[in-house]
Amino acid sequence: MSERISVEIVTKVARLARLDLTPEEIDRTTAQLSGMLEHFADIDALQLDDVEPMAQPYPLDNVFRDDVIVDGLDRDEVLAAAPAAEDGRFRVPPIIGLDV
């Protein structure tokens, strides 16, 4: 688990995370993640083969509510908080059609 983390891996992770990090940030993040992962190797010593993973602390099965119609959020109020809106929808830059 204590595989060395590299600038290449960090660059790829930044792309997955949609974070445009500067080269300086990539270098710093590489060094800091490397230090953390070294510390986190402490759990490698534990025998965990028979341990069930625990994703959340209080065991609740699927939770349903009665199928009753309730008011949703006010559309104008929601769109007023958006960076850009048009015709009752969120407005974004082009998604396809650009040579990128």
Partner: protein, 472 residues
């Protein structure tokens, strides 16, 4: 008068005006807020209007509720409809939520007066409130030191008399550690005790809302108001909670108080000494001290710093410049995401998003996130066994008293170690609280942590109340 129980009783009886209570707290804010910076926003006009409405209710013979006229400071990661909610992040600067958090609705129904939104480490990631995009909060006991974090603004607001009660959120110690450093009571209830609807998510399986108060009784009062099932939060526990205010009168005669014999080292001598005195105090009050072992306690830090960033990297994906907050324009949507998030998030948030994305990415998932979930189970099960022998456990809340600004330097791990004693309860889901128990180095407050089993808040509060009586 600053205790919520006293304020509410007097306002309900008509012997104290909610308007006067608000003015008293606004005057305290005028006096020291420029130096402390507990708030991102002081809601002067809204608080005055609300207080006037409460006084009118009382005058008309109606009861405003158990928090009548009590000034409450909300951590700025709790949604307030039409009122800016920033998470102390540039990416949400100026955003006005279109709905109220469930706790905000419950506070209103109970007659409370929201006096402002408090500062925090950006998206609640930190232990000093130094990571706020709007500047740090200072500790009212010594302004050259941090108030702890991430709920440092709420802790400082209560310690400085700006609010009678603060609400915070605790993902790895973010209520209990600042409470300890600011000398106030801070409670992280059982996971699912309080609805998280409208609490801006950091790590959803760990986050829990709780109070910061001057007294144990005020925390009980607040939890009695905000606790309970909420259809809007499917992880809120569907049971009725017994009154904690009723529980605290019962004392600790015969209670089994556990000492964790293999607790991780690293606490300062002054903190350890106060913790020992806390054991003595409970023994003198009639409790029995027993030894328990929680060998995996020490692995909590690693499990937490894999699980919490993993969940955060997923939760914070929603800040993409489309639906709310900051957008940095770019020629296409994908480019816009990258530049918006780079401009909007601070260093610590970026670091955790990176760590979490890495821990979840193909090829590393099993080695990191998957393994951390198993350690989480181990810790949970060991605590469950400990609670078969002990009703509550005592530990330090923080390894040290409040530290100076910049003391943790650029080493993220040094800051993460601040939460070594608080993190396990978030992983296991069990409740925990910090109770002020005298002073340590430089006359600064020390907090002792009381831990208890799932939904065993009544026992936890009984022990906390006994410690409070002993400390006085």
């Amino acid at each position: 008068m600053s205790d919520a129980l006293e304020i509410a009783a007097a306002v309900r009886a008509g012997s104290l005006k909610a308007a006067d209570v608000v003015e008293q707290h606004l005057a305290a804010i005028d006096g020291r807020e420029p130096e402390i910076h507990a708030f991102n926003l002081v809601m002067v006009e809204q608080a005055r209007e609300r207080a006037a409405a409460i006084d009118a209710m009382v005058a008309a013979g109606n009861d405003p509720g158990p928090l009548a006229g009590v000034p409450v400071a909300l951590k700025d990661n709790m949604c307030t409809r039409g009122v800016p909610t920033t998470c102390s992040s540039k990416i949400l600067d100026g955003w006005k939520p279109p709905y109220d958090a469930t706790i905000v609705t419950k506070l209103a129904d109970a007659g409370a007066v929201v006096i402002g939104k408090t500062n925090l480490d950006e998206f609640a990631m930190g232990s000093s409130t130094e990571n706020s995009a709007f500047g740090p909060t200072r500790n009212p006991h010594d302004t050259s030191r941090v108030p702890g974090g991430s709920s440092g603004g709420s802790a400082a607001a209560v310690a400085a008399g700006f609010a009678s009660i603060g609400l915070g959120s605790d993902t790895g110690g973010s209520i209990r550690q600042p409470a300890a450093l600011c000398g106030v009571v801070g409670v992280k209830p059982t996971y699912g005790y309080v609805s998280r609807y409208g609490l801006i998510a950091f790590a959803s399986s760990l986050d829990q809302i709780g109070p910061l108060t001057n007294t144990v009784a005020d925390s009980a009062l607040m939890l009695d108001v905000i606790g309970g099932h909420d259809p809007m939060d499917s992880t809120s526990i569907p049971v009725a909670h017994p009154s904690l205010l009723d529980a605290i009168g019962e004392g600790v005669e015969g209670m089994r108080v556990g000492r964790i014999t293999d607790l991780p080292e690293g606490a300062d001598p002054d903190v350890l000494e106060r913790t020992e005195l806390a054991f003595d105090a409970l023994r003198e009050a009639g409790a029995k001290i027993v030894d328990v072992e929680v060998p995996a306690f020490t692995f909590g830090l690693t499990a937490y710093y894999l699980i919490a960033p993993a969940e955060a990297s997923s939760n914070l994906a929603r800040y993409d410049g489309v639906r709310y907050g900051l957008r940095v324009e770019a020629p296409d949507t994908n480019a816009m995401y990258g530049v918006t998030r780079a401009a909007g998030f601070g260093d610590e948030v970026k670091r955790r998003v990176m760590l979490g994305t890495y821990a979840l990415s193909a090829g590393y998932y099993d080695a990191y996130y998957g393994k951390a979930l198993k350690v989480r189970r181990l810790i949970h099960d060991e605590f469950e066994r400990a609670y078969q022998h002990a009703d509550v456990l005592l530990t330090p809340a923080s390894p040290s008293v409040a530290f100076p600004f910049g003391a943790k330097g650029d080493n993220p791990l040094a800051m993460y170690l601040c939460d070594v004693y608080t993190i396990p309860a978030n992983l296991s889901g069990h409740p925990g609280m910090s109770v002020p128990f005298g002073t340590g180095a430089d006359g600064l407050p020390v907090g002792v942590q009381v831990l208890a089993g799932t939904l065993c808040e009544p026992q936890m509060f009984r022990a906390a109340a006994a410690l409070e009586r002993a400390a006085r």
